[in-house]
Each structure stands twice: as C-alpha cells, then as structure tokens.
Symmetry: C2
Subunit: 355 residues, 2 copies
DNA sequence: TATTTTTCTGCAATCGATTGCATATTGAAA
DNA sequence: TTTCAATATGCAATCGATTGCAGAAAAATA
C-alpha cells in the first residue's frame, strides 16, 4: 500500500506556530484572520500540497454538497443526457454527484437509496425502476430529511418535487398528427402500465382517438414492446391481423419503432405510404434511418438542468418549499419521413421552417 | 428546512443501556459481542430506522470505498458504457462511484481531480480530456497515495495502471481489410495527435499501407475530423481532389463516418462500390444506415468491468502492485456493407459465420 | 489618558463511528 | 477449589475540520 499520511491543517498550524483554528479560518476565509497570517497559511498550504479532507468537514458541518442520482440505466441515452444536464448545473455550484444504477430492479434501487442516505447526500434524484412495486424506500428518504426529486418516471402519489415530461400531451399530438396524415387504424406499442409515463402516453393515444371519434381496437394495443426485438415481434403480429393497422405508434421507445421499421422493410411494406411509424425519445439514429423516423424529443439535457436548478431554488427559498413543486417540460413532436404522406407542399413548407 | 437529527449509535446505546462501542461492534459484527445483545441492537436499530453515517465511519477508517471517475463526456456512448461497466463491478463489492465530467477541458479536469482527492476516494479512474497539455494533476493523485487508473485516452509517460484498447492493431486490421477489398487510395480522418489513441490509430493506418507497399499521400490525411459535420466537410474536400480517394477511414468516430456517408449519398457516389467507408466505435446507428457502416467495436462495457476488477485485484495483491499493469483489450473489426465489394461468396460465408 | 469597539487567536467541544486497552464475567481445565 | 483462557463490555482516544466562547491585543472613540 502506498497510502501515505495526508497533510492536515495541524501540520500547517505547527509550521506557523498557530492553532488549527486559525488555519481553518484562514483557509475557509471565515471569521477574523489577520491578512498577513492568512497569506502565510495559504502559502504553506500550497507548499505542503494540502488538500482539505471533505469527510471531516462534511461530518462537522452536517452537509455534503453532494447529490445522489439513481437511474435505471446509466448508459441509456435519455438518462445519460439527464445526468449530463444535472452535472452541468451542479458543477457550477461546486456540488458533487454520486451516480447509482438500479438496473430496473426494485431491490437494487432500495440498496442504492440506502447507500445514498448513508453517504449523507443532501438530495436524492431518482427515476424509478420498471419493476418498482412500492415506494417505502422513497418515503424513507423524506423521513430522513433528505430532499427528494423524482423525474420522468415518478411515483405520483408521493408528494415530492418532480420534473416530468408532459407525456400525455406529446402522445396526443403524435397520434393527432398520424390521423391528420390520413392514417385511420393506429396501433399502440405500450410499456409497463405501472410506470406513470406509459400510462400517460397511452392516455394521450386514447384521447386523440376520441377527439377524432375513432373507435379503440383492443387488438391494436400491444403490451410491453420495449425493445427492437419486441417491437419487431409485435409488428409481425399486428400486420398479420385480418384488418391490419396502417400506422404504429411505438410509445415505448425509438428502438421499438426501429423494430417496426425493419419488419416493414422486410415485408416490403412501404413506409410511410402503407404504414406510418412514430417512435419516442428522438434517439440519434431516428434521423438516419430510411425513411427517417418521426419521434418525440424529450429535451433530456434540459431536464437534467431543470432538476438541479429546482434543488438550488428550493434551498434558497426554504420558506416556499412547503408546496411540492412539479415542473413539466413540454416534449416536441419531430415530424420526419416515416409519417409524412400528405402533399409535397406541406413537406416543403416544413423543411423551410426548420431552417 | 426539514433536516432532522439523524439516529446515531448513541441513541441505540442509550436505549439498551450499553455504550456506543458495543453498538458499533454489534452492527459491524466486529470483535466480541454477546449474541443476545447483538440481536437486541439490530432490533432497536431497525426500529429507530438507524442509518450508519458513512462520513464518520470513513473518516475514522481512512477509506471511503469510493471510486471517482472522470470522463470527457458522460453522455457519450463509449464513456456511458464504460461507466455502466465499472458500476456493474463496483456495485457487487459495495463500492460507490462519483462521476465527474471534464467537458474536454483541461482546467475543469484539474478541478475534478482535486474534488475527488478532497473526497478521499480510494481510486481515481480517468480518461483524459482532448486539450490536456500536462499531467501534473495526475502526478498529484499518485503523490497523495491514491490509486490511479487511466483508460482509453492515457498519458503514456505516466506509470500507472492502464486499461486500453489496442487501437493500432484495430486500425491496422481495418485498413488491411479495405486494401483486401480492393481499395487503393485510402484517406484517413484523424483526431488530435496529442491523444495517444489517435496517434495509435494513425500508426495502424500507416503500418497497413506499408505492409501493402502503398505510398502515403499526405493530401489524404485530414486532421481533427471529429464530428459528423467535420467528417462531411473533410469528405467534400477529399472527393474534390484531382486524384480523389476511393475509401475513407474515419478513425475519429462513427459520427464522422456518418458525415462521410451522407456526403457520398448526396453526391450520388455509390458506397461501397465507388467509396469504402470505415468508422470507429460501433455506435448503435452504424448497423442501420444504408449501407450499414463497417466499424470497430471497443467492448466498452467490458472495459469498464476490467477497470474495476483491475483495481480490486490490485488491492488484494498489494505486494505485486509495484509493477504498473497495462491491460489491453483487443477491439474487433465489424465488417458491414460500407466496405464489402468483393465476391458474393465471401459475404455469404460471413453471414453464416455470424450466426 | 481612559474607555469602548474591533480584530485576532486560542481553547475546547463537536460531528459519529471505530478500536486498542483495560476490566469484568463466565466457563473450562487442572 | 484454583487457574487460565475465552468472552463481553466499557473507557477514552482518534479521524480532521469547524465554531462558540473567551481573553488578549490593537484600533477607535470619548
């Protein structure tokens, strides 16, 4: 082991024949310190390559300036972006991030929460895992007096700060767009209904159908078509129905939509003329498939920034913080080739607008 | 503020009329404790919802079971995957991760390093930023007695543990493959040469040309073509040369390769027959472009796991750790449509093999 | 010059858990 | 019954930085 003894404020104090108190005050620029001694302390600290022991400091001060983040998957595009957004805002305020990954497992999520509580983080940011079946662990966070912020996938009953997307509205708009493009038999690939986001997306779908007085066909609603493979499988089934759909809204993800597209290509079904496809998330690849895939952008990096800023606002205005705030970010429908089948004109106008 | 006072071992001790020492021993199952009292302690701890204060524990024990990770961009696919890999391994050993992002900025990287030192992490894992101009801060980590592991982009002169890809070999194989497919005028999009990985990739390129006795044409080597846009711009220039290349190896990234492909498509240059394209990183989208893009898989998640395991091995065998170990992971050339222009036979064989 | 205020520094407690040493208790072996 | 080892618990110091209080020194005011 090459773990050497670190330089402490006592070492500096000894060199200067003062006490640790003075050194501490000099370094943190707190209280009265003679300017000359302060400069001396700083000089010696630099010479000895002193590094403050944050553990000791945090223990004493009772705050860690650390935010814990728990996401299902670190390397899923949406979450990676949210984290990047959080990092961007917290870095500026000298806060640290501890990142945990629940792997979509409830048990692991509980362990993550406990770890973060033990670490005395000042705030826990979480997007719950898909198989969460209760939220005692989150209640526990609140009971420990730790600020809790839920985002995207949230336990709605729990009164906490929340940063969410307006999934219902976005889905509503997407399905309306499909209908306006002349699609009449629209299928839905839906996600696990215990997650709020998928319930909301379904509800947006239903709302749109209702608006245009289209009857809901239960055969068109496929559960748990998360992945590309599941999306592909669902598509095969849907397209072999006697009365096959003419559009598929993959509300689960763009990966799912990609599965749909691949099956359509394999079966020589033309997209968008014979089949419309809409995904969700605006993954990078949706732009480069042929045709490119219509999807919904969630502004994930901004969401991360919003989360961090919500926390800092809350800290500054501790008085108003009795009211649990919910920030809703409006996602944007990105219309692309996979759903445009009306009028060349429209297309031109659209592409001009996008400049 | 709703920050309440937390339950400590003293609270438990008081309830049971024992001292904190006993409680501590009971909770950590250390030293002699009567089994009956131990059970009592555990019971009361659960009742009071006690959570160990890791700060205090770490301060006393002088270790944090925490690994700090510094990457240029958290939300870049490769890094997100490496982090996910590290998380996977460290989670099993009850270690925490603190994630920092250098944003490719040297100054921010230094700040990140200092934060992690202050946090008393047991180990720092880093992939240096593109504009690093010296490595004093890394030397500092070593001086502080903290284990340092560099990965992917490394300061080669610094004697530390390293986990790298064999970039040279991979590039060599990629270019050989291009040559074997009959391409003769191969251009290189290269990255900043202060980073080892890009130097190595260039060197692999040169080695392959040499092997086949192809003269290096300096006009074919384009600097800093990182992004899709830069890749596209470089391609336009290259293709307008009087003696334009017939293949482009985008050694910087798949994004760059994508830029190449888009320009080729725009100019109605046929890929792969008129122009071969090879990228680097095996981003998800390379599989779904048309044609799909030949690229190099870096096994990023495995790399993350290797990093974590390297650390744990090192901890266990402190004796052998004098020798700085370098783990090299062999990347794999993924041959796809953008470079296959010889014999249908070959293709068939390949697609059978891949099953 | 005397008095008050401001500045500077030290003392000692504190944050919460851990651990070496000492003492007490129990049980087993002689 | 005596002796010794094993077990159980307490005492007090420790990790390193912070901070309220107190006293001393310097500066400002009367």
């Amino acid at each position: 082991m090459n773990r050497k003894k670190r330089v402490t404020i006592y070492d500096i104090a000894q060199k200067l024949n003062v006490t640790a108190s003075t050194v501490s005050r000099a370094l943190s620029n707190n209280g009265y310190v003679n300017e000359t001694t302060r400069q001396l302390v700083l000089k010696i600290a630099a010479e000895l390559n002193y590094k403050r022991n944050t553990l000791a400091s945090n223990l004493r001060k009772g705050e860690t300036k650390t935010i814990g983040v728990i996401v299902p998957r670190i390397n899923q595009n949406f979450f990676a972006n949210v984290i990047a957004g959080i990092e961007d805002s917290t870095y500026q305020k000298d806060y640290n991030l501890i990142i945990c990954q629940s792997d979509e497992l409830h048990e692991k999520e509980i362990k993550c929460v406990n770890t973060l509580i033990n670490q005395h983080v000042d705030c826990i940011v979480i997007s719950v895992s898909a198989d969460s079946y209760n939220y005692d662990h989150l209640q526990n966070v609140i009971d420990q007096g730790i600020q809790l912020i839920q985002f995207d996938r949230v336990a709605e009953d729990l009164e906490t700060l929340k940063v969410i997307n307006d999934n219902e509205q976005a889905s509503f708009e997407a399905v309306c767009h499909l209908i306006e493009q002349g699609y009449k038999k629209i299928a839905l690939l839906e996600g696990p209904q215990n997650l709020n986001i998928f319930r909301q997306r379904k509800s947006g779908y239903l709302k749109a159908l209702k608006k245009f007085k289209i009857k809901v066909n239960n055969a068109y609603v496929v559960e748990n078509a998360w992945t590309k493979e599941l999306g592909a499988a669902a598509t095969k089934k849907l397209l072999s129905l006697p009365d096959a759909p003419d559009a598929i809204f993959a509300s689960t993800s763009d990966f799912s939509a990609l599965g749909v597209l691949e099956v359509a290509n394999d079966l020589h079904i033309k997209v968008p003329s014979q089949l419309g496809i809409c995904g969700y998330s605006n993954e990078a690849f949706t732009e480069i498939t042929s045709p490119s895939i219509t999807t919904i952008d969630q502004f994930s990096v901004d969401m991360g920034k919003a989360i961090a800023n919500l926390y800092f606002d809350e800290m500054e205005n501790a008085d108003t913080s009795a009211i649990p705030k919910i920030i809703s970010i409006k996602p944007e429908l990105i219309v692309r080739g996979s759903t445009i089948r009306k009028g060349e004109q429209n297309q031109e106008i659209k592409s001009q607008e996008s400049r």
